[in-house]
């Protein structure tokens, strides 16, 4: 068994490794995604994204709202297909969704007619019902919901529902966890608590995590590497490796510095996003604002 693993790992390393020798979990080469809008115009959501995510890595995809980073996650999940370029998962092109790439969405999306236990068992393939129950119980414990095993989703708070969704994704025992702004709808306290839990789970399970967010501090707090995307179409603007030791405390100077640096880059993209949403009116205001007293961005966003 061990020998097989070593061989498999060696083989995998030869097939899909970078110069650093890391085994690649997800690889994107010149990935593009186009949509057609209601009136038949082609809209580009993703533009020539080159990205490699190593096995066991925690990567945050950061960008302004509506920039296409969730679309990118859907491509990895296989819920949508690439228009051009290549998207590989464990060396194979992605065509379909599958339980080897579990997804946590912004909404918990639990099945309302199933208990917490049953919702998690829903994700477990194969095995006897006793094995399933034991496995589900294990993951319920991991997200600290032991007392709510038999509860129905409507009896849970937003944060608890999201924890069930995380446990459901973990129960697939997939090597990859894809998270699409999973904490965006939660209040600040719950969000912080779940961030801490997520880090612990990631450290325990050694999964590859791809975490989509528009929240800079969240990305810095969680990820090993941040990929910053431009506003539509999404292009990689810059990558930020994060080497701050864990646990990352809020008052850390490096966090503050990095946040400011990322914000500088993000501002430009946010300007574009706002300009597109509000239109010319905004541009005129921005020009007037700039002429008068400087930074309009700070006030507008």
């Amino acid at each position: 068994m061990l020998l097989w693993r070593v061989l498999a790992a060696g083989f995998g390393a030869i097939c899909n490794s970078t110069k650093d020798g890391n085994i690649m979990s997800i690889e994107m080469r010149q990935v593009e995604k186009w949509f057609t809008d209601g009136s038949g115009n082609a809209l580009q959501a993703i533009d020539k994204v080159e990205l490699s995510i190593a096995d066991g890595e925690f990567v945050a995809l950061l960008g302004p709202s509506g920039c296409g980073k969730s679309t990118l996650l859907n491509l990895i999940a296989g819920l949508d297909s690439v228009s051009a370029g290549e998207l590989l998962f464990q060396g194979k092109p992605v065509h379909n969704p599958g339980a080897d790439r579990a997804v946590v969405f912004q909404e918990a999306a639990l099945f309302p007619w199933l208990t917490v236990m049953e919702n998690i068992m829903f994700a477990i393939q194969g095995g006897t019902s006793r094995e399933k129950t034991e496995k589900a119980a294990y993951y319920i414990k991991m997200v600290h919901l032991g007392k709510f095993k038999q509860a129905y989703p409507y009896q849970l708070s937003g944060g608890m529902k999201q924890r069930v969704a995380i446990a459901r994704a973990l129960a697939t025992e997939s090597p990859v966890l894809l998270m699409d702004e999973p904490f965006a709808a939660l209040d600040e306290q719950t969000r912080m608590m779940l961030q801490t839990e997520l880090i612990r789970i990631w450290q325990d399970t050694k999964k590859t995590v791809v975490f989509v967010t528009h929240h800079i501090r969240e990305a810095i707090y969680l990820a090993e590497r941040i990929i910053l995307f431009s506003y539509r179409p999404a292009r990689v603007v810059k990558e930020f490796p994060i080497n701050i030791p864990r646990p990352r405390a809020a008052g850390n100077f490096e966090i503050a510095r990095l946040e400011a640096e990322i914000l500088d880059h993000l501002k430009i993209e946010m300007e574009k996003a706002v300009a597109e949403e509000i239109g010319e009116e905004y541009l005129l205001e921005a020009i007037a604002g700039n002429n008068a007293a400087g930074d309009s961005v700070g006030r507008r966003i």
Binding site: L79, P97, V103, A109, F122, Q125, R168, T172
Partner: protein, 246 residues
């Protein structure tokens, strides 16, 4: 309960004023007596059983066909585009207008009445099932797809249970429509049954029999709705989280 007592008091009052002669408006007591005799000599019981047989056969057929057709319309686009709008049109046609045709097709017997019941309940069921299935949250379907669920498992494990509240509403509406169609069909049709007892009452000028049958129809319909469908509906809605979330 209070409302029923009030109704009986008003009824008795109108009877005593003598607005209509007693043979046109019998007193609550006379109707009660007729009801009792009808139950004692089994004539009304036999009529209820005969009616229920037709109703159940027609209802079950309508539910089964309606579910199949509703699922097909929700899932197959070209089917929806061709006969989908037809179901809406057919639903607005009172089922009793099918009776002359049914009498010619099936003859003056039970089958014609059952046919009218099926037609009466079918379209509501089709439309309810179709919209219940189309209304299933796409997010739940995406979740199941990311968990490697095949289309068949997806349908039975996600789409059907997620659509259940809507389907149960369909069952309840279909029941009400079936009950109405049955009465219309039996009035014009033949054989034993509550509708024919009603006609007999009219022919004999026995208004207490007519009112007794009306009472039976109303009470049976609402008791079944209350005890069966409303229980089912509230149970499902609560478990599905609708009741508590508001």
């Amino acid at each position: 309960m209070l409302a029923i007592m009030l109704l009986v008091i008003v009824w008795e009052g109108v009877y005593r004023i003598g607005f209509w002669p007693p043979f046109l408006l019998p007193s609550p007591y006379q109707v009660g007596q007729t009801l009792w005799y009808g139950i004692a000599d089994f004539s009304l019981v036999i009529a209820v059983v005969a009616s229920f047989q037709r109703l159940l056969i027609g209802y079950v057929l309508a539910v089964v066909l309606g579910t199949i057709l509703g699922v097909a319309l929700a899932k197959v686009r070209w089917l929806d585009q061709t006969i989908g709008f037809l179901t809406l049109g057919l639903q607005t046609v009172p089922s009793i207008v099918w009776l002359p045709l049914a009498l010619l097709w099936f003859g003056l017997n039970d089958k014609a009445v059952i046919f009218v019941v099926v037609i009466g309940a079918l379209w509501t069921m089709v439309i309810s099932v179709k919209s219940a299935i189309q209304g299933v949250s796409p997010l739940l379907i995406r979740v199941a797809r990311t968990l490697s669920y095949s289309n068949i498992r997806l349908f039975f494990k996600v789409i059907l249970p997620a659509g259940l509240p809507g389907i149960i509403t369909g069952l309840r509406l279909a029941w009400a429509f079936a009950w109405r169609s049955l009465m219309a069909g039996e009035l014009l049709g033949s054989g034993a049954g509550l509708g024919q007892v009603l006609i007999t009452g009219r022919n004999l000028g026995d208004m207490s029999l007519v009112i007794a049958v009306m009472l039976i129809v109303g009470v049976l319909g609402s008791v079944i709705d209350l005890l069966l469908f409303q229980q089912l509906e509230s149970g499902v809605l609560e478990k599905w989280g609708h009741a508590k979330q508001g």
